[in-house]
């Protein structure tokens, strides 16, 4: 199992109960949609996986690491095995597309020659080899998200966590991103993706986990979106 949650509770400092006893297993190579209304607990679910938050109660393991008991100095090493993608891309604005991707490899102190080779490889995979020198501000939204995806996969993580990766993109560009994620999934990476995109979920059928009010209300293989918007 890549992700194991057993009776996970998350209560924030202001008293909000974001998750109320969530248990779920996500296996190697799965592609999971996380759906549900805004504020249902999807973002908390994802933040727990890459250890931006710690569970208040319960057992959570990612890639075999016990997230709740993780020592502060071990956190970076757990994150290196998890790629994260956001709705707002979160690229470093002063660095070129190439540098943004290479940065994730510099962090793990990979040899320079390997960085150059692998970065060009993933740029090619996301179809942006020609624009490697462009700054994020010179790229379209879809292109920026491709750079973010390239950064997320450059270190061959076992799992990718994507928080509404198509939220800021037009339908056509969104499909391009989905094809890319599917391709990455085919190559053996687990993908957990929170989304509000009904069309995508209903067309590109995968496992669907629906969260409402901090509880899992539905977990279907090849499921549907299930909400009107």
């Amino acid at each position: 199992m890549v992700i194991e949650m057993h009776d996970i509770w998350k209560t924030y400092a202001d008293g909000t109960h974001a998750l109320k006893g969530v248990s779920v297993l996500i296996d190697r190579n799965e592609f999971v949609y996380l759906v549900g209304p805004s504020g249902a607990g999807k973002s908390t679910f994802m933040k727990l996986i890459y250890r931006e938050e710690v569970p208040t109660k319960g057992q959570l393991s990612v890639n075999g690491f016990n997230i709740g008991k993780l020592k502060q100095r071990k956190i970076p090493f757990v994150r290196r095995n998890i790629g994260v993608i956001f709705q707002d891309f979160r690229l470093l604005p002063k660095l070129s597309a190439y540098e943004n991707i290479a940065f994730a490899m510099e962090v793990i102190e990979a040899p320079r020659r390997l960085i150059r080779k692998r970065t060009m490889e993933v740029l090619d995979l996301v179809g942006l080899k020609a624009k490697h020198a462009s700054l994020p501000s010179q790229l379209s939204g879809g292109e920026q998200q491709r750079v973010a995806i390239a950064r997320a996969i450059v270190n061959n993580p076992s799992v990718i966590v994507a928080d509404e990766p198509t939220g800021n993109l037009d339908p056509e560009t969104s499909w391009g991103i989905m094809n890319l994620l599917e391709e990455i999934n085919f190559r053996g990476t687990t993908i957990v993706m929170a989304t509000h995109n009904k069309e995508i979920v209903n067309s590109l059928r995968k496992r669907v986990i629906a969260i409402e009010n901090g509880v899992i209300v539905r977990d279907q293989a090849r499921g549907e979106y299930g909400y009107e918007i």
């Binding site: 979160r90 994730a104 510099e106």
Partner: protein, 305 residues
């Protein structure tokens, strides 16, 4: 840490100054302004210190000998006083020289007063001029000299004068001036530290997202810190280096231009050779330290993600 990683940190630190050009400019400007003011006051304090020392060193004791003293006794006194540990120099002044000095001091108007007094008819006694190694000891040394005269049956010393009262007051004033100078310099140094570190904090606040992203891709805290550390040091070094260069060049011009005018007033500025190394290294050391301190403190705040 790999050698290539060390190189990377240095390269990133330097590149970040260029990438965040305006922010770096703001930090360097704030360093320049604060340290420049501080430097001006440091030079001022150095000169005041020097000037008061000059004034203090000019105080001396005049020992007036009795009129009918013999040459042998004179030599004996000269030896005795010269052997006192606090005394740096004793110069005998004959009555003829004394008269000449008096004429000079009194000037044209006084000359009439001294008319008729000459070599044959000189009312002044022979005297000794005594200089003291530590000017603050002057009262104590004067008492010692007086005691030598009092203990001698032939009463060879008529009086001992050093401007009692006036000298003590002057020392109080010069000491106060020096202390005030020191307090102002320290106060300015503290102000500079806060001003500069605040500017640096602001520039790093603008980059907290950047730090968040670094953490997200799995950068360790040290990996994030190093380039900021180098960036802070470089900004401090550049800012204080420019300050030291401008300040010391300006000061050397000031010394050259004012030499004649101030020389007429018997004031001699501390030369660049005497002050440059001290002021320059203090400014650059302080600037670099503040640069490192400011960036290290601020980064730590955003590392807890």
């Amino acid at each position: 840490m790999r050698f290539s990683t060390i190189l990377r940190h240095i390269r990133e630190g330097a590149l970040n100054i260029v990438r965040n050009g305006w922010m770096s400019f703001a930090s360097i400007s704030s360093i320049f302004i604060s340290l420049f003011i501080l430097g001006v006051f440091m030079l001022l304090a150095l000169n005041i210190n020097n000037l008061t020392k000059q004034i203090e060193s000019q105080v001396q004791i005049r020992v007036f000998l009795s009129l009918n003293i013999e040459q042998a006794k004179k030599d004996e006194l000269l030896n005795q006083i010269g052997n006192l540990p606090e005394v740096s120099k004793v110069t005998p002044v004959s009555k003829e020289e004394g008269l000449e000095m008096l004429r000079e001091n009194l000037g044209k108007d006084g000359a009439t007063l001294l008319e008729g007094y000459d070599k044959e008819n000189n009312p002044l006694p022979d005297s000794l001029t005594v200089e003291v190694a530590d000017p603050e000891q002057i009262g104590f040394v004067a008492k010692k000299i007086k005691a030598i005269g009092d203990n001698d049956a032939t009463a060879p010393i008529m009086s001992v004068k050093y401007g009692q009262g006036a000298v003590e007051t002057m020392f109080k004033v010069t000491k106060a001036v020096r202390n005030v100078g020191l307090v102002i310099v320290l106060g300015l140094a503290l102000t500079a530290m806060f001003l500069i570190s605040n500017t640096i904090k602001m520039t790093i606040f603008a980059r907290r997202r950047e730090i968040g992203i670094m953490k997200l891709v799995g950068a360790t805290n040290y990996f994030i810190r190093w380039p900021f550390f180098i960036e802070g040091a470089l900004i401090g070094l550049i800012g204080s280096g420019i300050t030291a260069a401008v300040l010391l060049f300006g000061y050397s011009r000031l010394v050259a231009v004012s030499q004649f005018e101030l020389g007429l007033m018997m004031i001699k500025l501390v030369t660049l050779q005497e002050s440059g190394l001290l002021v320059g290294s203090l400014l650059i050391g302080l600037g670099t330290a503040i640069g490192i301190w400011g960036s290290t403190i601020s980064v730590r705040k955003y590392l807890k993600v």
